[in-house]
């Protein structure tokens, strides 16, 4: 079961005992609903949760409620929001308002709150959101995010905060506006009448005098009265009990709890004391700790008759004790049986480890002071914890180790290293990995092997963040990835091995992509995708798809578009709308649109990428985004802005070494832009500073040509690009060759060689056609040359028309055309298949991309043909292009 609890918890015990109908407070709560927020703030045992539970039980059946209870010392913002979103989905009833959310290593609580607020703004019917035990929220991030929710609270949401202390949230404004209702300790005290009602319900008849004495002694404190009711029920002389109680100065809870326990049968007392070390308990776990049987029945009986034991699930298998009650029981256990406490924690740690509840297992190992066991558990399950986005929990667990534990424990050092990476400290991570490596010989073989790959993976991440691509690929991964699984690994470490394998493959693929090895990248990313789907690792699946999209761009923009859109759709299915891992898919889609001349659409994608990316986590993608923004400005003729973006992209973070392709292109366009702005001197000196190796490339030749043209040297410009046209200077891609051809056309035009101009233009169109490249024509300023180009004599009339449309400022024609109505008629699945039709993938291959059967693809294709009114795939592609449903003019020969 999950460690977070949602609404069902409290629906689970409809007949919870001792629920006194507190009419006056119910009225206060009813009236509070016309405001925005209710705060119930009072010490433990004041009956806060009981009040809300009984109020909700008698509320009108239509009232929609979402209930979140915090775990003790909750320090993980993501877990808090996941349980809150889960309970809202249940409470709202209509799942379309709140998207499902899957844990992610890249969780951003602020973005989540923004999304939540905009989703819930359209909700009409009121939902009451109860956050119980808010004082347990021990995460500054989560509190700041809650503050944001409070500031933007959707109108249909009424927030009830239940806490022992006034929450550190700005409530003053709400109070002034009359939108805040507060219920405090004094309001919660039972009146004499309510105390009588409580005892009546428990079948206890006290004299008026004894009742008054009990009420006075407990001062109406609800927990005291409830404990008294339980103790009294078993007491032979109730009047005497009250007299003795009022005659002592001992604290109420301590006195009554001891009395109550003394009256329980021995097996119940043992169970309560020993299981008090647990945060939650079920029958098997209680059997284990007591050495008895039948604990589940005892727990269920306790829940029925004892208001301090609550069921956590509808099936009544898991329970938790009221916190005050549990704290007192623990103290009693320490006193009654001090030698047993560590043993109980150790047994609980083993039970949780066997049941794959690693966080609980580690907490109990900590409590037992069993540091080696705790660190071994963490090391063994680290890939899973990171994939499940438990980074903050991991951090809190690490903080629980004694300061010197790490120096002699290589496995713990490796976990500390991984934590440093999530904190962004690459130096710290490396220091821990070094330490772990030095201590590794202490470990037995199988654990040393696991440690080796954990460290290798950690170093891969560090190198990737630094952009040290050679370093990243230098981890000896071939051994790990090709190694047959030993029986031992399959039995005990399989999950570790498989999850680490998936993560390593994803990151290797990313690094290979950035170092220009697209084929190797695709191979590894396809493997990680396959593993991710088999093991249901959503994060790796989305990351693989997104990077596969970028990797496929070189082969086919249509393939890239299909994969990127699918990656985004998969991410959205998990409630991830702005995680950095989809950033690359967003930038790639932006680039595809940009090169096709669809500047507005491109800008939308790039804006979304901006929101998603965290440059420190994805430095390479962040540079690509700046570069793409620079190109977008160039396409729109905004050279000043373009210069800023290219300069920023050219000045990479110090530790980061970007790929040669991106460096060459960025540098090339930076110089071109400077020259176009008239600063040829700066452009020339920057050109002179380029290395000989860089100056070999076509991008440098093109930059020099722009400088020469700006200075009026047409002949020198033609000479500069000649090696590119002849094929002796290499280029990073087709667009750079198009650039060179167009620059030559401009130079030849100035040299009055009309025939050379026509040859250049025709060849540029030919090179640009397969990928539908429009942007180079827009950037080079060759409009007049294109207009003069004989349309009857070109083999690329469609592309030429497209380019002239964009140059003429029209984006309406087949780009935007009839898009909207048609999109509605095609289902999401059909649209996804349609995106792949311009590629040369077969139906089974498209099925492989989209993870559906070939038959499903064929069915979608039949429906697409019918809806588009065509009979063949090529016709469908042409029609879809006319409708602007797929990229324009992407024709393969």
């Amino acid at each position: 079961m999950s460690r977070t609890r949602v609404g069902v918890v409290d629906a689970a015990s409809p007949g919870a005992p001792g629920l006194v109908a507190r009419r006056e407070l119910f009225d206060v709560l009813d009236r509070a609903l016309s405001g925005r927020v209710t705060v119930v703030s009072a010490p433990p045992g004041s009956g806060k949760t009981f009040l809300l539970r009984s109020w909700l039980q008698q509320a009108e059946p239509g009232l929609r409620v979402a209930w979140v209870s915090l775990d003790r010392g909750e320090s993980d913002a993501q877990r808090f929001w996941l349980s809150l979103v889960g309970s809202l989905r249940d409470g709202v009833g209509d799942n379309s308002f709140v998207e499902k959310l899957t844990p992610s290593p890249e969780f951003d609580g602020f973005a989540l709150v923004e999304h939540l607020v905009s989703d819930l703004d359209s909700l009409d019917e009121q939902v009451v959101l109860v956050i119980d035990d808010l004082h347990e929220l021990n995460s500054a991030d989560a509190l700041a995010q809650l503050e944001l929710l409070l500031a933007r609270l959707p109108h249909a949401l009424h927030l009830v905060l239940v806490t022992r202390r006034d929450p550190p949230l700005p409530l003053g404004q709400l109070r002034l506006a009359g939108d805040l209702t507060e219920i405090r300790a004094a309001d919660l005290r039972f009146t004499l009448e309510e105390a009588r009602e409580l005892l009546d319900a428990a079948g206890i008849q006290l004299s008026e005098g004894a009742l008054a004495t009990l009420h006075e002694r407990t001062e109406g404190w609800v927990a005291g009265l409830r404990l008294a009711a339980i103790a009294l029920a078993e007491h032979p002389d109730q009047e005497q009990f009250v007299a003795e109680f009022s005659g002592t100065e001992r604290t109420v809870a301590d006195y009554l709890l001891t009395e109550m326990l003394d009256r329980q049968p021995a097996d119940v007392r043992t169970l309560l004391l020993r299981t008090s070390v647990l945060e939650r308990v079920n029958g098997p776990l209680a059997d284990l700790l007591t050495g008895g049987t039948g604990s589940e029945r005892i727990l269920q009986n306790l829940e029925e008759g004892n208001s301090f034991v609550a069921a956590l699930d509808a099936g009544r298998s898991w329970f938790r004790y009221h916190q005050l009650f549990a704290d007192l029981l623990r103290l009693l256990l320490r006193r009654a049986d001090p030698g047993r406490v560590d043993e109980l924690h150790q047994a609980a740690a083993r039970w949780y480890a066997d049941h794959a509840e690693i966080v609980d297992a580690v907490r109990h190992a900590h409590a037992a002071g069993d540091w080696p066991q705790a660190s071994r558990l963490l090391a063994e399950h680290m890939p899973g914890l990171l994939l499940d986005g438990e980074g903050e929990t991991l951090r809190a667990l690490l903080a629980g180790f004694p300061p010197d534990a790490v120096s002699a424990d290589p496995e713990l050092a490796s976990v500390f290293g991984a934590d440093q990476i999530t904190r962004g400290s690459l130096e710290g991570a490396t220091a821990y990995f070094d330490l772990a490596e030095r201590q590794a010989p202490r470990l037995p073989d199988d654990r040393r092997r696991r440690l080796k790959w954990t460290i290798a993976y950690g170093r891969l991440l560090v190198a990737r963040r630094r952009g040290d691509l050679d370093g990243a690929l230098d981890g000896g991964w071939a051994d790990f990835l090709s190694e047959p699984q030993t029986p031992g690994e399959i039995e005990f470490g399989q999950k570790f091995g498989q999850k680490l394998r998936a993560l390593a493959l994803l990151n290797l693929g990313i690094v290979e992509l950035w170092s220009g090895q697209a084929e190797a990248a695709e191979e590894h990313l396809e493997e990680s995708l396959e593993l991710a789907r088999r093991l249901e690792l959503a994060y790796v699946e989305v990351g693989s798809l997104a990077h596969l999209g970028a990797a496929g761009y070189i082969r086919s923009p249509a393939l890239a578009r299909g994969r990127c859109e699918f990656a985004i759709a998969r991410a959205e299915a998990h409630g991830w709308r702005s995680e950095p891992i989809v950033g690359i898919a967003l930038v790639t889609l932006g680039a595809i649109e940009l090169w096709s001349g669809n500047f507005d659409t491109a800008e939308n994608w790039l804006d979304r990428a901006d929101q998603a990316l965290r440059p420190e986590a994805e430095p390479a993608t962040a540079l690509l985004l700046r570069y793409a923004r620079g190109l977008l400005h160039c396409g729109r003729g905004r050279h000043e802005q373009a210069l800023r973006e290219f300069s920023a992209a050219d000045h990479a973070p110090t530790l980061f070494v970007p790929s040669q392709v991106l460096t060459l292109r960025t540098r090339g366009y930076l110089l071109q832009t400077r020259a176009r702005l008239g600063d040829t001197a700066a452009a020339r000196s920057a050109y002179a500073e380029m290395s000989d190796e860089d100056r070999r490339w076509g991008e440098a030749h093109a930059a020099l040509a722009v400088i020469e043209l700006a200075e009026g040297n047409a002949e020198a410009a033609a000479e500069a690009v000649a090696p590119v046209l002849e094929g002796t200077a290499p280029v990073t891609g087709a667009s750079s060759l198009v650039d060179a051809l167009l620059l030559d056309a401009i130079a030849q035009n100035q040299l009055a060689d009309a025939q050379a101009v026509a040859v250049d233009i025709e060849r540029a169109l030919e090179v640009a056609e397969p990928d539908g490249l429009v942007l180079p024509f827009v950037m080079s300023g060759v409009r007049d040359l294109l207009e003069r180009h004989p349309r009857h004599n070109t083999a690329h009339a469609a592309l030429l028309t497209d380019i002239l449309d964009v140059l003429g400022g029209s984006t309406s024609r087949r780009r935007q055309g009839e898009r909207a109505p048609m999109v509605d008629e095609l289902s999401d699945g059909e649209l996804r298949v349609l995106r792949f039709l311009p590629s040369n993938l077969t139906a089974p291959e498209i099925g492989g991309e989209l993870y559906v059967s070939p038959n499903t693809v064929k069915t979608h294709m039949r429906h697409i043909y019918a809806k588009l009114g065509v009979h063949r795939r090529t016709e469908a592609v042409d029609r879809a292009r006319e409708l602007g449903l797929v990229g324009p003019s992407v024709r393969r020969r």
Binding site: T248, T251, V252, A253, D254, L332, R335
Partner: protein, 65 residues
């Protein structure tokens, strides 16, 4: 840092186990917990214990000795 913390009621041995670093003395219907605490964080730790056990805090004072 030497502190005295006054809570309402008499604390049993069981409850006192929650404050191993402090000595306790009964004064009428109140208990004075006294001792040396490392710093403010330690003090807040003790106060959180007091809250968690449902005790009523009456006074906190620093003393010099």
């Amino acid at each position: 840092m030497r502190c005295e913390i006054v809570v309402r009621g008499l604390l049993s041995e069981t409850l006192l186990a929650a404050f191993p670093t402090l000595s306790a003395e009964a004064h009428g219907a109140e208990t004075v917990l006294a001792g040396t605490l490392a710093d403010q964080a330690a003090l807040y730790g003790v106060l959180a214990q007091i809250e968690a056990l449902g005790l009523e805090l009456i006074e906190v004072r620093r003393t010099h000795s």
